[in-house]
């Protein structure tokens, strides 16, 4: 429970954990040295596969399996997804600001393993400080011979470039990110082909999240098996959760998965503000269906347990809502976000998310009609047929279906409360 992989250094040395000096004085770049001197690229790939780590960006796809799909054509690219834009998510920001060399070392080892000599870090434009910190780390690394030509006399060369996004959530979707990186509109691509076959500039490309790659140095030093041994079998390793909302102690928490939601919210989070009653929480980012205390406090925080409850740990953003929360307003806030961030290429997402937003706003304005409840659900169903999680889609990417999660959540858990806001409905009349 106290195992810390990602945040140990920044906790021990809050003043200068982001500097090369501190990084190297605390074992930094030992993993790179080990990799270049003692390991073949295949051994590193095997180690990552053995870790069973599931990607920390949201989809939870095993990182080693993704690496295994990389096509042999050259050049190949490694792209780090630092477009952390989902409401309530702020874990990658901390990794970028507080331990940028850990990420860089991960990039170096991963690039060596994948046969990459150019890596890009795509950082959301609203993250100037993380970008500055990472750029400074990159500069330090070049100065120390840790980046560039013939790194540590190993014959391995790598360049790393930062690209700042223009402020679009959709660019966190990996193919939209690649389009954006190429200078195109940030619109998700049709898949297949997947990026591992045809990615950046139509070349084989691995896109990994900041947190995922930041784990690679530890895995390299300690072995993928050791990583797999931490935590539950299919939710191995530690994980950074961004806890926010109506808790007493919001913040990022690196934990070993497998604790209960009650422990997470009440022990780590210190309980609900003003000791109010807990009403609901979003377990994995704005696109995740909500969980409620009457059902889920004893559920384990693992990827599979979340899936069993019809939701996900997603990007690790936990948003806690207390009894004062107007769930319609909360849902509308999230739907509005997705409507605003829709790239607009697929009809159901472009038109449907805005429509859902309009209906919810109308209900909040006291202009709801009894048929609006079925309408909300049916419009949602036309974006995500069946309204299940993981979602079926009438769209290219899951952004549109994500907007239906808060609607199905409030209808499932708080339907009387929604009806009460509609003047002509039976509940309101009573």
């Amino acid at each position: 429970m106290t195992t810390k992989i990602l945040t140990a250094r920044m906790e021990a040395h809050p003043e200068d954990s982001h500097t090369l000096a501190r990084y190297e004085s605390t074992g930094g770049y030992d993993a790179l040295r080990k990799a270049l001197a003692e390991m073949t690229p295949e051994q590193i790939v095997d180690s990552v596969k053995a870790s069973n780590m599931r990607g920390r960006g949201g989809a939870g796809f095993p990182m080693g399996v993704k690496w295994g799909f990389l096509a042999p054509a050259e050049p190949r690219y490694l792209v780090i997804n630092a477009d952390e834009s989902e409401p309530g998510t702020f874990k990658d920001r901390q990794l970028l600001e507080r331990d940028p060399h850990q990420l860089l070392e991960g990039i170096l080892i991963s690039s060596y393993a994948l046969g990459v000599d150019q890596a890009y870090v795509y950082i959301r434009g609203e993250y100037p400080k993380p970008a500055r910190r990472l750029q400074r780390a990159i500069d330090e690394a070049y100065g120390a011979g840790l980046l560039g030509e013939n790194i540590l006399d190993s014959g391995f060369s790598l360049d790393v470039s930062i690209h700042l996004g223009g402020g679009a959530y959709i660019c966190g979707e990996e193919t939209a990110l690649l389009n954006s990186l190429e200078g195109r509109r940030g619109e998700p691509r049709l898949k297949p082909p997947f990026p591992a076959v045809e990615g950046l500039y139509a070349k084989p490309t691995i896109v990994n999240n900041v947190e995922s790659i930041s784990n690679v140095p530890w895995m390299t030093l300690n072995g993928g098996d050791s990583y797999a041994a931490i935590g539950p079998e299919r939710s191995s390793g530690t994980r950074l959760f961004s806890l926010s909302g109506h808790v007493k102690k919001p913040g990022n928490y690196e934990i070993v998965m497998g604790i209960t939601w009650a422990e997470l919210i009440y022990e780590l989070g210190g309980g609900i503000r003003n000791d109010n009653a807990l009403k609901a929480w979003i377990p994995g980012g704005a696109s995740a269906p909500w969980l409620v205390p009457s059902e889920h406090l004893d559920t384990l925080v693992t990827i599979d347990d979340a899936a069993e409850q019809g939701t996900m740990l997603g990007s690790g953003a936990i948003v806690v809502m207390d009894e004062t929360t107007n769930v319609v307003a909360a849902a509308r806030n999230i739907v509005k976000f997705f409507a605003h961030e829709s790239c607009g290429q697929c009809t159901p997402c472009r038109e449907g998310t805005s429509w859902l937003d309009d209906i919810l706003q109308r209900i909040l304005d006291g202009q709801g009609r009894p048929e609006d409840i079925d309408l909300l659900l049916d419009v949602s169903d036309n974006i995500s047929p069946g309204l299940a999680w993981p979602p079926a889609m009438t769209t290219i990417c899951p952004l549109g279906p994500s907007a239906t999660a808060p609607i199905t959540s409030i209808m499932r858990w708080f339907r009387p409360e929604v009806e009460a806001m509609i003047p002509m409905s039976e509940v309101a009349s009573a």
Binding site: S342, G344, Q345, C346, R350, W355, R362, E371, P385, I396
Partner: protein, 811 residues
């Protein structure tokens, strides 16, 4: 692994054998299952954006909804296009598309032919559940001089943008904003000035893109359609000419994959308004001391018959006929050779190439051969400016991997996608050809590229100032390339038909030589005596008019004062002629010098056949009655011959088509019935074989003296020009670009001029300078036939002087 010949897919429980490699939506359509769509278009890359074509496909984890426009068919695929899930998804998408659509169908040009309307009727929900505010935009906005955009109606299908980016190569329209605010827009200060913009109007599946000249003019159900062809250029794009109440009001492309693949240039599409222009000549005109007066046909024809009958046959010449039908051209040749007794006929105006080369060169390519060429050589005029639809076909070939070699004295529209650009000083082409042919130093890579067959060579005269012998030399070289096929690049609408019909001093109908005694005998058996020697070319006739050797001239839709290389010779010849009769639709610089002008019926009014640059014959059909008293040429000449005592028997088009089939061997298979019923979709290519190849080019030096203190001239043709048709077509009348003189930076510094300064050409024309490194050193590039450049003689070199602001003060 070779692809199997077919794969089996099951659609709605029925098994079908379908061709592999195609998308599911197309495969389904071919077996009769229509899946609704907006973004899908056979000629555009799939994007899967509108989500209208969702169907259920069975996979390892059960059925799932997939867009059929992006899904390739695979063996064993099981598809459901009618399940409850599919129907709900389709209804849902249509409801989404309609929530922000203005539903202003009653005033929308697209209403009645609108895929959104039609598919809503078939697949959509009965009514909308949307009660919120609709999205609004100011509307319409002009995205070009020709096209208007209504963003409220737009369903963002990406068709217009994909067409502009991929097909036309004019990436001037794009999506802006995101989500609910996405809209099509041009870039700031850059209109959608594409030669192909009208195609986006036709591609648009809703009424978002409309053309300025059709807007609010008609309802689709009131339109009458005529399957015909465009006569703007020699590609002869297949087109649907649409009329209402006796007027042509719209031209749409017909998808003929052999010719135009469903595309038209904007000139093809918008030239039609000239047919109804106020300046049309609508009655016969006879010139008096104080100008033309209107006359009856009877009076005018009697006068013409009297005059023409008063000369010896070889004192009469005819120029023109390249914008007429094959039948009209044939009758003109028959009239001249038999009734008048003159072989002085020429469909070209000294601006073309050897007629034998154009009509009989083998091996002749078909347009579609470009699709399978490994290497394409374009040595001739800028295709984008002269034969725009052929330009699109070359672009497509390059997109699919062909290697393109372009040779020209100045930049062309294709340079950007060419693997090799050969730039040569205007006038020095033969020297460059020799170097390319030998693969000398700088040209080794080009020569190597040209060694990869099959090669399709497109050869033509790059400018009026270029020696036509160079075309023969290039063609001769190109024929030696591996698996080579060639197309010559004459531009005028039916010039190839006219040449095939014998409208050349050296050719008889059916691509026979005018000095071939057997061919002459065949015609004499059918008609009566005709000249046994080749006649005079247009330039020779104009010069002999000037000399008084030729006394009378018949001009048929030809404007040599504008179009021939020596405008003043043409003007002098016309002025000195004893008698000039013009059959024309307009009073041009040339026809206004005539003694009698007879109103000729034109494209849109005439019936018959035409032949394009690959030798393909298509049916051209009348859509309207001729304007005013205009008549087809075959009818005019039939009457005229009768007055001269000869029965031509050419009043009925069908009789003429039949006579052509009898007399012109290559046209033996061409009957109107055949073209109407059998070959209607693609037309028919009249056969050509090497034994009929009259062109015997013996490579020789094409020498153009380069005078060191003068610049060599490249008189570049432009799509929009000051031609009489362009001037009278309202949509495109204002589109010609202001003329400039482009020179290489080195010449600019020698002349001490910069961008925006002016130069004087031959002491007659002043043009603003554009300094352009794409121009060969020593050459000057001037657009042909623009308001500011008319009258410039197409000489090999010109005198160029800088115009100094203080020059007059010094003088």
């Amino acid at each position: 692994m070779p692809e199997p010949a077919s794969v089996t897919i099951t659609i709605n429980g029925v098994e079908h054998e379908v061709e592999p490699g195609q998308r599911l939506i197309s495969a389904a359509e071919r077996v009769g299952v229509m899946i609704p769509r907006f973004c899908h278009h056979d000629k555009l890359e799939p994007v899967g954006k509108c989500r209208m074509c969702l169907v259920e496909v069975e996979g390892p984890r059960g059925k799932s909804l997939v867009p059929s426009c992006t899904m390739p068919v695979s063996d064993g695929m099981v598809v459901d296009t009618e399940s409850a899930v599919v129907e709900k998804a389709q209804e849902g998408v249509l409801e989404f598309l309609l929530i922000n659509h203005p539903l202003d169908c009653p005033i929308c040009d697209k209403g009645g032919e609108c895929p959104l309307q039609d598919q809503t009727m078939q697949w959509g929900p009965g009514e909308s559940r949307f009660i919120e505010q609709k999205r609004t935009f100011p509307k319409p906005i002009s995205i070009s001089d020709i096209v208007l955009l209504d963003r409220e109606r737009c369903v963002l299908c990406d068709r217009c943008t994909r067409f502009a980016d991929d097909i036309a190569g004019d990436p001037l329209i794009t999506f802006q904003q995101r989500g609910n605010d996405v809209q099509i827009q041009t870039f700031p200060d850059e209109p959608f000035a594409s030669y192909f913009s009208g195609n986006t109007v036709q591609l648009c599946p809703v009424g978002a893109l409309t053309s300025v000249d059709y807007r609010f003019k008609a309802r689709p159900w009131d339109l009458e359609h005529t399957a015909s062809v465009s006569l703007v250029d020699s590609v002869q794009s297949t087109a649907d000419v649409q009329t209402s109440r006796g007027k042509i009001i719209r031209v749409y492309a017909i998808e003929n994959d052999a010719v135009n693949e469903g595309w038209l240039s904007d000139k093809d599409r918008f030239i039609f308004s000239a047919v109804h222009a106020e300046d049309r000549v609508t009655t016969p005109l006879i010139k008096e001391e104080d100008g033309f007066r209107e006359a009856s046909w009877a009076e005018a024809l009697e006068l013409v018959a009297d005059k023409l009958g008063s000369y010896r046959g070889d004192e009469v010449a005819a120029i023109g006929g390249s914008r007429n039908t094959n039948e009209e051209a044939f009758v003109l040749g028959k009239f001249m050779r038999w009734v008048v007794g003159s072989g002085n006929v020429d469909a070209q105006a000294g601006d073309g190439i050897d007629p034998a080369l154009a009509a009989t060169l083998t091996p002749r390519a078909r347009i579609a051969d470009l699709d399978t060429a490994s290497t394409i050589l374009v040595w001739g005029p800028d295709l984008k400016e002269t034969l725009p639809v052929l330009y699109l076909r070359v672009r497509k070939a390059v997109r699919n991997g062909a290697t393109l070699v372009v040779a020209s004295p100045a930049g062309t529209g294709l340079d950007g996608i060419a693997a090799h650009v050969v730039r040569y000083r205007a006038g020095s082409g033969s020297d460059t050809l020799r170097k390319v042919s030998a693969g000398e130093a700088d040209y080794a890579a080009v020569r190597e590229a040209l060694g990869e067959g099959p090669v399709v060579a497109l050869v033509g005269r790059s400018s009026l100032a270029e020696d036509p012998k160079l075309v023969e030399a290039v063609a001769s070289f190109a024929r030696s390339l591996p698996e080579a096929k060639l197309l010559t690049l004459l531009e005028r609408g039916n010039v190839y038909g006219a040449l095939d019909m014998g409208l050349a001093p050296t050719l008889l109908p059916g691509r026979m030589s005018a000095s071939d005694s057997t061919a002459v005998e065949t015609l004499e058996d059918a008609w009566g005596p005709i000249p046994t020697e080749p006649g005079r070319s247009a330039m020779e006739s104009l010069s002999d008019l000037d000399e008084g050797v030729i006394k009378a001239l018949l001009l048929v839709g030809s404007d040599p004062v504008r179009d021939c290389p020596d405008p003043s010779l043409a003007a002098d010849g016309l002025e000195r002629a004893e008698f000039v009769v013009a059959v024309d639709a307009f009073l041009t610089d040339s026809s206004s010098l005539a003694d009698v002008v007879l109103p000729g019926a034109v494209w849109g009014e005439v019936d018959g056949t035409v032949t394009n640059l690959e030798g393909r014959v298509q049916r051209i059909r009348p859509s309207i009655q001729p304007v005013g008293q205009a008549r087809p040429l075959n009818v005019v000449l039939d009457d005229l011959a009768l007055l001269m005592g000869v029965e031509l028997g050419s009043a009925k088009v069908g009789d003429v088509t039949a006579e052509i089939a009898r007399i012109a061997p290559a046209y033996a298979s061409v009957t109107l019935d055949y073209l109407t019923f059998e070959a209607d979709e693609e037309g028919i290519v009249v056969p050509i074989d090497e034994s009929t190849d009259l062109h015997r080019y013996i490579p020789a030096e094409v020498s153009v003296p380069v005078v060191t203190d003068r610049m060599t001239l490249h008189l570049a043709p432009a799509l929009y020009d000051d031609g009489v048709w362009n001037r009278n077509a309202s949509s495109i009348a204002e589109l010609p670009r202001a003329a400039t003189a482009a020179i290489h930076p080195r010449d600019a510094s020698v002349l001490a001029v910069a961008d925006g300064d002016s130069v004087r050409i031959n002491e007659t024309h002043t043009l603003p300078v554009v300094v352009d490194s794409e121009v060969a050193v020593g050459s000057i590039v001037i657009p042909f036939n623009q308001r500011e450049t008319k009258g410039i003689a197409a000489t090999a070199s010109v005198q160029v002087d800088p115009v100094r602001g203080d020059a007059q003060g010094d003088a």
